[in-house]
C-alpha cells in the first residue's frame, strides 16, 4: 500500500517537474522581453544573453511611451492605444453579437439547407487572408471606406467561421429539454436565445471574445493596408517607429513598448482565465 502511494507521489512530482520545465520554456521569450525592456541599450542583444541588467532602467517605459512626441506633436503611444481600444471594442462586440446568433441558428434551429450552409461557412476557413486581400480592398475602396476604421471592424459583424463553429459546438451541448420547456411556455426563439442559451454560454462567449480581442489587438496587416493617417494607427503598427532603417534599433524601448502592448492581453487572460479554460474544454477545442 505504501509503495503504491509512493508511486503515485513520484508520478505527481514527475508531472509537476515536467510542467514547470515546460512553463519555463514558454516563459523564456517573455522574460527576455521584460528584462530587455529594463536594460541600457548596450546590454540588449548580448550573446550569450546577459539576463540581469547592470542597472534597471525603469525610465525605458516612460521613454517608450513618449517616443515620437517631438516630431509628431502628440503622444503616439497614447493615441495608438486609444485607437486600438476603440477598434477592439467594436470588433469584439461584433464578433460576439453576430457569431452567437448565427451559431444559434446552426445549432438549435432546423431549416432547409442548414448543414450545407454550415459546410460552406466552414469552407471559408480554408481561404487564407492574403488571397482575399485584393478583392476586399477593391470592395472597401468602392465603398469609400479606405482611411477609416470600417474595413477593420465591419466584417466582424458578419460572422467568422471559426467563432461560429466554436459557439455552435457549445450550443449543441445545452439540453434541448430546457429550450423545449421554454417553448411550451410560449417563449419566442429570441427570448430563448437571450434568456436561456446566452447566460448558459458565458464560457464559450468569453473564449470567442478573447480570441477576437487578441486577433484585433495584434493585427498588423489590416491597419497597414487600410489606414492612411498616422494619427489613426494602432499599437501593433506603431511598434515600427522604434526602429530606423539606417540608424539602429532602440531594442530596449521597442521591448518596453511591446511589453506595454501585450500587457492588457495578459491581464485580460488572468481575469478571464477560469472562464476561458472552461470554454476551451467544453467546446472541445483542446488538443
Amino acid at each position: 500500500m505504501q509503495s503504491q502511494q509512493k508511486l503515485i507521489l513520484a508520478r505527481k512530482v514527475l508531472i509537476q517537474i515536467t510542467l514547470i520545465g515546460l512553463s519555463i520554456v514558454f516563459l523564456f521569450p517573455f522574460a527576455w522581453l521584460i528584462l530587455t525592456a529594463l536594460k541600457p541599450i548596450k546590454e540588449t542583444m548580448t550573446v550569450p544573453i546577459k539576463w540581469i541588467p547592470s542597472k534597471f532602467m525603469w525610465g525605458n517605459f516612460y521613454d517608450a511611451a513618449v517616443y515620437g512626441h517631438d516630431s509628431l506633436g502628440y503622444y503616439p503611444f497614447v493615441v495608438y492605444a486609444r485607437n486600438t481600444i476603440v477598434l477592439c471594442t467594436l470588433i469584439v462586440a461584433g464578433t460576439v453579437a453576430s457569431n452567437s446568433v448565427v451559431a444559434y441558428s446552426f445549432a438549435r434551429l432546423r431549416w432547409p439547407g442548414r448543414d450545407l450552409a454550415f459546410g460552406i461557412t466552414l469552407a471559408t476557413m480554408m481561404v487564407p487572408f492574403p488571397v482575399l486581400m485584393v478583392p476586399t480592398f477593391a470592395l472597401f475602396r468602392h465603398l469609400e471606406w479606405i482611411g477609416t476604421y470600417r474595413p477593420l471592424w465591419v466584417p466582424s459583424w458578419f460572422g467568422s467561421a471559426f467563432s461560429i463553429f466554436l459557439l455552435r459546438q457549445f450550443f449543441r451541448t445545452i439540453p434541448f429539454e430546457l429550450t423545449e420547456a421554454a417553448k411550451l411556455d410560449g417563449a419566442s426563439e429570441w427570448r430563448i436565445f437571450r434568456t436561456i442559451v446566452l447566460p448558459l454560454s458565458k464560457a464559450a462567449l468569453a473564449v470567442v471574445a478573447l480570441f477576437s480581442f487578441m486577433a484585433a489587438w495584434n493585427d498588423f496587416l489590416g491597419p497597414l493596408i487600410y489606414l492612411l493617417d498616422q494619427k489613426n494607427f494602432t499599437l501593433s503598427l506603431g511598434l515600427q517607429f522604434y526602429q530606423s532603417q539606417n540608424g539602429g534599433t532602440s531594442w530596449n524601448l521597442l521591448m518596453a513598448a511591446s511589453a506595454m502592448v501585450i500587457a492588457p492581453v495578459i491581464v485580460l487572460f488572468f481575469f478571464t482565465q477560469r472562464l476561458f479554460i472552461q470554454g476551451i474544454a467544453i467546446t472541445g477545442l483542446k488538443g
Binding site: 546590454e43 550573446v47 476603440v86 476604421y149 471592424w153 493596408i225 532603417q245
Partner: protein
C-alpha cells in the same frame, strides 16, 4: 435580500451594451473623419522611413508646406511600404508620392506602377547634369526616368584602428589591394588552439548584403545589358575564388560557427564590428549612425575599399532611396511641385544632412560638409564618383537573381561547391527566367 418584483435586470444588459457600442462607434467615426476641406490641394506622400530619418523628411515637408499656400503635403510613415503601395496602386487609390528603394524602380516601371518623370523634369529644369551620374542612373529604366534620388549612400572599408595598433599595423595605412587585405586580415585574425575563431580580420560574408558585388569589383558583370546572364564569366569566377580563399584559410565550419554567434545583431551594440570581433568590413555611409548610437567610443576609420585589380580602384556599391509618382495618382502636378522642392540643393541637403547621408547632387555647399556629423563624409562623396561603382542591375527579376547569388555564395563559403560550379548553376537557372522576363516585356511593347 428582497428582490424588486417584476424587474428583470438582465433585460437592461443588451440595451446598455448596445448604447456603449454605439458610443464607441461614434468615436471611431470621429477619429477617422476627414478634416474640413480647405482651399489647398492635399498631396499624399508615403515614406518608409521612421525615427530620425522620418524627422528629416518631415522638416522638408514642413518647409514645403510653409513655402506656399496652395499645396499641403501629408506625409505618412509606414515601414512595409512595398506591400501597402502595391495594394493601393492595384486598388486604384495610390498616394501622390511614394518613397521607394532604388532597386525596386525597375520592377515598378515594368508593371507600369509608376509614371515617367522626363517631361516634367525637362519643364522644371531638373537635369541629369546636376546629379552624380551613379545616382541619377538608378531612376532611369530603358531610357525613361521613373524616379528622382532622395537619399543616397556609397560603401567603403570600415576598420577598427585599435585592433590595427594591437597587431602592429599602421592604422593610417589600411589595405589598398585585395592581396594586402588578405594579409592584414590574417594578422588581425585570432584563433584558439582548437581552430575556433575568436576574431576575424575580414570576412567576405560579413555583413553579406552585397554578395553580388564581388564580381563587379573584379571587373565582372551580372548581365550583358541585353539577353544574357553573365554570372559565370571568368572575372566573376575569379572573384568567388577569392571569396572562397577565406574559407580555405580559416575553415568553412569555423567561419560559419563564428558568424552564427552574431547573426541578427547588426542593428545592435553586439554588431561584430562594434564588439571588435571583426576588424574590417565593407559598410555604407550609415555605419557612422550605428557606431555613434551603440559604441561611441570605438576607434574606427573609413577608407576606400581595396582594389581587386589595379585598373579597378575604389570599388563601391551604390545604394539609393528614391521618390516616385505612382500611376493613378490624383494630384500629379502638385506632387511634382513637391518633388521639385525636395530636389533643390537646399531641399536635398536638408534631407540628407538630417539622415546623415551624402547628397546626390554634384554641387555641395560648404555648410553641408561642415555640419555633417560623419567625419568621413567627403570620402563617401568621393566614392560616388569612383570608376568602379556597382548598382543593382535593372532587371525586374533582380530579387530572384539576388537570392540565387546569396545561396550560391553560401555554397561557396561553405565549400560545398566550387565557385565555377555554383556560378554555372546560377547562370543556368537564371537564363530561362531572363528569357521569360524579356519575352514578357516584348509582349508589352517594352524592350
Amino acid at each position: 435580500m428582497p428582490q424588486t418584483p417584476g424587474v428583470d435586470r438582465n433585460a437592461f444588459t443588451i440595451p446598455v451594451l448596445a448604447i456603449a457600442v454605439f458610443g464607441v462607434l461614434f468615436e471611431s467615426e470621429q477619429l477617422t473623419k476627414a478634416p474640413p476641406p480647405d482651399k489647398k490641394v492635399h498631396v499624399q506622400y508615403w515614406e518608409k522611413w521612421t525615427d530620425f530619418e522620418f524627422d528629416a523628411m518631415k522638416k522638408v515637408v514642413d518647409a514645403f508646406n510653409k513655402s506656399q499656400d496652395k499645396i499641403q503635403v501629408d506625409i505618412l510613415s509606414i515601414s512595409s511600404i512595398e506591400d501597402k503601395t502595391l495594394m493601393a496602386i492595384s486598388g486604384g487609390i495610390p498616394p501622390d508620392v511614394v518613397g521607394l528603394y532604388g532597386e525596386n524602380v525597375t520592377q515598378y516601371a515594368d508593371n507600369h506602377a509608376v509614371i515617367t518623370l522626363d517631361d516634367m523634369c525637362r519643364e522644371a529644369g531638373i537635369t541629369k547634369e546636376d546629379y552624380i551620374p551613379a545616382f541619377w542612373n538608378v531612376g532611369v529604366v530603358r531610357n525613361k526616368l521613373y524616379a528622382l534620388p532622395s537619399t543616397p549612400a556609397t560603401t567603403a572599408m570600415h576598420y577598427n584602428r585599435e585592433l590595427f595598433r594591437e597587431v602592429g599595423l599602421d592604422p593610417d595605412k589600411p589595405p589598398k589591394t585585395f592581396d594586402e587585405l588578405f594579409t592584414m586580415a590574417e594578422k588581425l585574425t585570432k584563433r584558439e588552439p582548437n581552430g575556433h575563431l575568436v576574431r576575424t580580420g575580414f570576412m567576405p560574408s560579413e555583413p553579406g548584403w552585397w554578395n553580388w558585388a564581388w564580381g563587379p569589383f573584379f571587373g565582372g558583370t551580372l548581365w550583358d545589358g541585353k539577353d544574357k546572364i553573365t554570372f559565370n564569366s571568368p572575372e566573376n569566377v575569379e572573384a568567388y575564388d577569392w571569396v572562397q580563399s577565406f574559407s580555405k584559410k580559416y575553415g568553412a565550419s569555423a567561419m560559419q560557427s563564428f558568424q552564427a554567434g552574431f547573426n541578427g545583431t547588426f542593428s545592435s551594440p553586439q554588431n561584430p564590428f562594434m564588439t571588435s570581433q571583426n576588424a574590417m568590413e565593407i559598410q555604407g555611409v550609415w555605419m557612422y549612425n550605428f557606431v555613434h548610437k551603440f559604441s561611441p567610443k570605438l576607434d574606427w576609420s573609413a577608407a576606400p575599399f581595396p582594389a581587386a585589380k589595379p585598373n579597378l580602384p575604389d570599388p563601391t556599391v551604390i545604394d539609393l532611396d528614391v521618390l516616385c509618382i505612382p500611376t493613378g495618382a490624383k494630384h500629379v502636378k502638385e506632387a511634382f511641385e513637391f518633388l521639385k522642392f525636395v530636389e533643390t540643393q537646399k531641399g536635398l541637403e536638408m534631407l540628407c544632412l538630417g539622415q546623415k547621408k551624402l547628397t546626390p547632387l554634384k554641387k555641395v555647399s560648404d555648410g553641408f560638409i561642415e555640419h555633417h556629423p560623419n567625419p568621413f563624409i567627403k570620402l563617401f562623396i568621393r566614392m560616388a564618383y569612383s570608376k568602379t561603382t556597382c548598382a543593382a542591375p535593372k532587371l525586374g527579376i533582380w530579387s530572384q537573381y539576388k537570392d540565387e547569388i546569396t545561396n550560391a555564395t553560401s555554397e561557396i563559403t561553405l565549400m560545398t561547391k566550387t565557385p565555377k560550379q555554383a556560378l554555372d548553376d546560377v547562370t543556368n537557372r537564371m537564363q530561362p527566367m531572363l528569357d521569360k522576363y524579356l519575352a514578357r516585356l516584348k509582349a508589352r511593347g517594352e524592350e
